[in-house]
């Protein structure tokens, strides 16, 4: 600062022409200086690309850069790729903050690739639902928003809102039930695990779920990719389908008469987490970013933009948005979590059993 002041005095004593010159010099110096600072303070994160990444920038990344005057480098990488990179770069990680969906943060935390966070390190900690910050001291970062698996139904064909997962076995909906492959689609798997739970099964025993599915299979359609769900709803073949609340919004935006409902047995949580990478040399800035990600404003933005359920308790939503997402403490309390570690351990076996059960 003192140097700057001396420079100003010097400038005032100069001739106009040289004054101008040194002002240019000062501007150039300042530019170099800020550029230098920005280069020092660069946070590297991943995001998931497309519309998701765009909203991610609007809600979190750009405001964060402005607030802390830093640069955030965004690498588009899905969860699986990100985990692979963290494994490969264990000693000098490229990422400072890693976003995961689909439960891979549990695997990463168990392998020591993610760093534990203390509640005191996050100023927004107290605003969060307990499930969203349950794992932070073990390295599983906060859930900044969550997808929810429940039932999607066609409001023109089904006048009375279904209340239970068992609705997919309702004879009235025969030939119009759409199931999603549990072996290739994570949402499909979570939906199946819930069907299994309602049918009396557990993560140790998926036979009840498989029997239930086999029972409705002759009059159901099984698809594996989300565009097929849209197609089946659009062509009138699907009236009811276990799937995600954010996808119901995609269908609504496409003009289809589709509504999402959380059945009374509960919807399934599919958390999206923001994690502190172990071994980053920018721990403080990364923590600020994580704290910034879970603030109410961002959580609200995810609900408004893509219909993910807010995990910050203080979020308030308009009636329209609130009617399309699982929202409010009572509704959120019904949500069911399946142990991601158990899922990872048993998934290969389940895939096999599922494929056999549905094979023609």
């Amino acid at each position: 600062m003192t140097g700057g002041n001396n420079q100003e005095k010097d400038i005032s004593r100069m001739k106009p022409s040289s004054k101008l010159l040194s002002m240019f010099g000062a501007v150039a110096l300042a530019a170099v200086a800020t550029h230098g600072a920005a280069a020092q303070e660069t946070l590297t994160i991943n995001s998931f690309g497309g519309a998701y990444e765009k909203l991610h920038r609007d809600l979190v990344i750009t405001p964060f850069e402005e607030m802390y005057d830093v640069k955030v480098e965004v690498v588009t990488a899905y969860s699986g790729d990100t985990l692979a990179q963290l494994r490969a770069q264990k000693d000098s990680p490229r990422f400072d903050v890693a976003h995961f969906s689909g439960g891979l943060e549990h695997a990463a935390a168990a392998e020591g690739l993610l760093s534990p966070i203390k509640p005191g390190e996050l100023s927004n900690y107290d605003q969060m639902y307990p499930f969203a910050v349950a794992g932070i001291e073990k390295g599983v970062g906060p859930t900044y928003s969550t997808a929810v698996i429940g039932l999607l139904y066609n409001t023109e064909q089904i006048k009375e809102q279904p209340t239970s997962w068992n609705a997919i076995a309702d004879p009235a909906f025969q030939n119009n039930v759409l199931l999603t492959d549990a072996a290739s689609n994570t949402y499909g798997l979570l939906g199946f695990l819930m069907i299994n739970k309602v049918a009396g099964g557990t993560l140790d025993d998926i036979e009840p779920g498989l029997d239930f599915v086999k029972g409705i299979l002759p009059t159901s359609t099984v698809v594996s990719k989300s565009p097929e769900i849209q197609q089946n709803f659009a062509q009138g073949n699907a009236w009811i389908a276990p799937y995600a609340q954010d996808y119901a919004y995609t269908l609504t935006k496409a003009g289809l008469p589709v509504k999402f409902v959380q059945p009374e047995e509960g919807g399934v949580l599919a958390p999206i987490t923001v994690n502190l990478v172990a071994g980053t040399d920018k721990r403080d800035l990364a923590l600020k970013f994580i704290d910034f990600s879970i603030r109410a404003e961002a959580s609200k933005g995810w609900a408004e933009g893509l219909r993910y359920t807010p995990t910050n308790k203080t979020v308030e939503l308009s009636d329209e948005v609130a009617s399309q997402v699982v929202f409010g403490e009572d509704e959120v309390a019904k949500l069911v979590t399946f142990d991601a570690n158990e899922i990872a351990k048993k998934r290969a076996g389940w895939n096999e059993a599922w494929s056999r059960a549905i094979a023609k």
Binding site: D181, A183, S184, T221, V222, V223, S224, E228, Q231, N232, Q235, G236, N237, R347, A348, N351, E352, S355, R356, I358, A359, K360
Partner: protein, 284 residues
Amino acid sequence: MSAGSAQPYREPAILLTPGLLFLLLAFFFPALQLLAQSFLTFGTEPARFTLEHYAKAAVDDFYAGVGVRTFRLAMIITALCLLIGFPLAVIITRVGPALRTVLIVLIILPLMTSVVIRTFGWLVILGPGGVLSWTLQQLGVIDRGISLMHTEAGIVIAMVQVLLPFLVLTTLGSLGQIPPSLEEAARVMGAGFFRGIFHVTLPLAVPGLASGSLLVFALSISSFITPTLVGGVRLQVMAGSIYQQMTGSFDWGFGAALSMILLLSTLLLIVPYMVITSRIGGRK
């Protein structure tokens, strides 16, 4: 060719090098890697030799069923392509240059579109409430909507459309080499149109039909996008199963074993086929 050359193989070898290098890198290297993987345990502890992946594939009737379906479908698809493709190719060689160009463009045009796009086109046609179902309903043939989605018939229809150009184009090459005078001679000697084609054109076109049908067979055995999209998850084929093992269950060893079985059984079918057709085609 080799007259006066001390190293008769040098020039051909140079010409072959780029292709061989590519084959080595893009086929033999990954195939050998898969071969190794199929005999190794996979997991956190150091890999060791095992036969468990092959044992699993051998005793499991689920995968046997998937294999049988894959080969059955490939044979049906190949047969249909031959049945449709050969007459089409004959017609193309007979018509005037302008119409020929139009027909060839029509054959090639689908190849300009990604197979995913073409398959999605079939979803719209074959799906429930799709064009096919609607038309049949309007004509009064059926009273309830039908769907060929998630059926083997659907897979065959979509695959024949995707693969037909390969057969027609290779057969055209063969037909183009047949002197028209041969068939003219047959006609002069009193053979009718169909007899001429059956006794003269068809046998002479065998080399083209053989390579075309091999291409179609190999492509349909290994095809993955169309069967998965049209057939759905309940009608698995080998390529889809392998994909599922590799990317869904992360059982790379078993996926590699399935790949090897697919490769081997394809070779077991293709090699005798090549021998037989080359005899018919009059080659050595």
